[in-house]
Amino acid sequence: MRVIPFVVSTVITVALVFALNKKWGPVPPLGKFLSPQHGFWQNAEPADADFNANLSFPGLKGNAEVYFDERLVPHVFADNDDDAYFIQGYLHAKFRLFQMEIQTKAAEGRVSEIAGARGINYDRTQRRLGMRFAAENALKEVEKDPVTKVMFDAYTNGVNAYINTLTEGSTPLEYKLMDFKPEKWTNLRTALLLKMMAQMLSSGTESDIDYTNTKAIFTEDEMKVIYPQVLDSLVPIIPKGTVFDSAGIVPVKPVTADSLYFSRQIAMVKNEWDKQDENNGSNNWVVAGSKTQSGVPILCNDPHLELSLPSIWYEMQITTPASTTYGVSLPGSPFIIIGFNDDIAWGVTNAQRDVKDYYEIKFKDRSKKEYWYNGKWEPTVPRFEEIKVKDGSTVYDTVAYTAFGPVMYDESFPNDTTRQRNLAVRWVAHDPSNEGKTFYELNRAKNYDDYEEAIKTFECPGQNFVFASRTGDIAIRQQGKFPARWDRQGIYVMPGEDSSYRWQGFIPQQENPHAKNPERGFLESANQRPVDSSYPYFIPGSYIVTRGITIEHKLSAMNSITPADMMKLQYDYFNTTAEEFLPILFKYVKENELNGDEKKYLDIIKSWNLNASPESKGQTVYQNWSDSVIAGIWFDDIKRISPQAPWPDRQTTIEMLKRDSALKYIDNINTPQVETLYDVVTTALKKATVSLKIKEAEGKLEWAKFKAPGIYHISDKAKSALLPFARTNLNVGGSGNIINAVTQSHGPSWRMIVQLSSPTEAYGVYPAGQSGNPGSKYYDDFVDTWVKGEYYTLWMMKKSEATDKKVKWMMKFEKQ
């Protein structure tokens, strides 16, 4: 033995192994990661991968078969419900485990465990919002119900059955990149996933803090005009003229409201990250047999969400002797969320209702152990939060819970401010509820009554459930648990020292806006206010008016509708806002003051067909010009005084200008002269021209090139860290206010069309693929189909069709 060389060489070897077994910054542990028998190469799925398998688990009650078609969509045939959801859990885990992990960890405020210290603020926000508190409350309700308890258990067992089969090599790629391990699934994690949806769709639909800031600038009367509740152009979900019952509950305005609430002016602290994506929206509509070529209803739905790879949706069929359902499911939850069975079809859009209010709390001292409530010091309930960080450290946080809910903001959060506003949050998502039950029952609903019964208990996030049945019924109901507010309650931050400001009750479920079989033969929802001003409740929200107008116009004019017509409508690029705004812009632009370039862009827009198609230059010019006009009108009034104040809705501005072209806000308060609409519109075009010329020089004047839509990896919120896993520069047009609502990374996450003929004719597509594995050819194989506006035929398979050539693989599940 040669001692010194041996020691040197061994030290080098050990050091190499150590260094290559460790994550260095963003660089994964290279030895582990590159090893062809352990690392990422193991996730490089053979292009001709064989998904056939014979599996047996002790958790199963009977036997089941899963047939995969050529798109890798599973058609599950199980003997009973328990096994069906066990298998759904197994399949979700097999194809989508990482997204389930990251979404539930993010919901709970545990991102720092994976991302390190940069996740701490996000985690604190989630915990202070009470996300886990909400999930725990929901879970109690789920486990009280014998049916959902069993189904959640079966699902969890299925997920874990798959996790138990994992080896180092077969662990999903992202775990290897980020160097952590899968965690066991629990029913709580399913509850967390559903609360993530609640957060995505019903947190951020309020503007309490924004409006409280804005109140420092405008009078209450101005607030009502600039941020109106009901727009002139509103086409509500429930057809106008519908007579509503008088309110079953009449909340009483507190006697101190005028002095303590409406006239109080305080500037609020707010984090930039707590506003959810304002583009979250969706379309759904249903046409009755009287308007279709086939004489049976057609139901359509395209929920707009942040698009991601893998998708939030996983397509599948679940069949038991008692029921058969097809549609999209949410990995992390049992059941089909949007879909159809042999008797009915249903879809959802977001209600956009404000179900979250803030109350200003007065603590006795910094310990936050007592707060002033109804004339005395009341104890808070502290919740201790431990945020574990990837580097091994722990961050502690204490959240005080009051009669209203958790105190989300206080002097310790955000810690970069010296202001000491304590804001408690009251949010419907905190209340015990069992949303899963709705889907369990909807999946099995046979008719209108079953549908009504199923959705009755759905509380949060409020959704517009659209419905059609084979027997010809069409219906829609905006369902959720909505506070009954006195006029303008909860528009602003409310005083938290007095129980009279609490919610006094909820709108009775049967009074939720609904319609069934209207004479006109169709119903639609597109995130607009559900009702006109005759509805007897005050219902604030962040409604979007335009898509509803477009859909209503189009559907009114259509007859003998076919599924192909509906495909065209879901892909429609018509810009209703531009149609309304452009006459104003054309009227007030001073053409004689324009130079050559400015004139050129004006000509482009004058010859534009008002379609935001991918190649459209007019849409790009319109967007830039109109943005510039809006800024020209409002920037000086709002943004320079309060950077936190929200822009007035574009549609509101258009309506205000239509009513009064000499609107006082048009004048720039920072200049000595008085600007007119002529000046603002003309200057706006000149300003827009500067940026348009730059874009044109880059070859990006066409709308798709200008906005460069992309679909990014689900964990890549910065849209920069995992670009090779993304699909960028997609050739699609559209915009948030257009039916085909594709923005930079947001849009129709699932397009579905169901014609309730015999047999059902259904089409669908989502912009990703069935496999969540970036190393699989099924990772993004639907994207191009989606981009082109094409669809796949959704195959409601019968067991007798097991030998059909569309069946490519079979997984057999057996009781062990």
Partner: protein, 114 residues
């Protein structure tokens, strides 16, 4: 010609180890082969290096062919290696080879005395 035997033995043992043990079992394999088959340190290094270079390179190459290059292109853009699958396979082989080479050299020094 002993070196051919040790290269093949290293590759074989490393492959079997990789089926059951963590990735660094390649170091154990190379070490054991160098301990069992007496060679000079330089030759041992070379046989450990080449044994795993060939093993990891061949496995990665084979997987890449079967995968039609879907994943290698993405990982090679991420790492970043300009999206080149060939480069990624070479880096893969090189990383394993270095570990195995040094491990084999240790084995040789433990055994070899001159």
């Amino acid at each position: 010609m002993k070196i051919f035997v040790t290269i093949i033995l290293t590759a074989l043992l490393a492959f079997i180890g990789g089926l059951y043990l963590p990735w660094w079992s390649i170091a154990v394999a190379a070490f054991i082969v160098a301990l069992l088959v007496r060679q000079r340190a330089g030759r041992s290094f070379l046989s450990g290096f080449l044994g795993v270079f060939i093993l990891w390179g061949a496995l990665a190459f084979w997987i890449d062919i079967k995968n039609a290059g879907i994943l290698s292109k993405k990982i090679a853009s991420l790492l970043p290696l300009g999206g080149s699958a060939i480069l990624l396979i070479l880096v893969t082989a090189l990383v394993g080879a270095l570990v195995a080479g040094f491990a084999a050299m240790s084995g040789s020094y433990l055994r070899y005395s001159k």
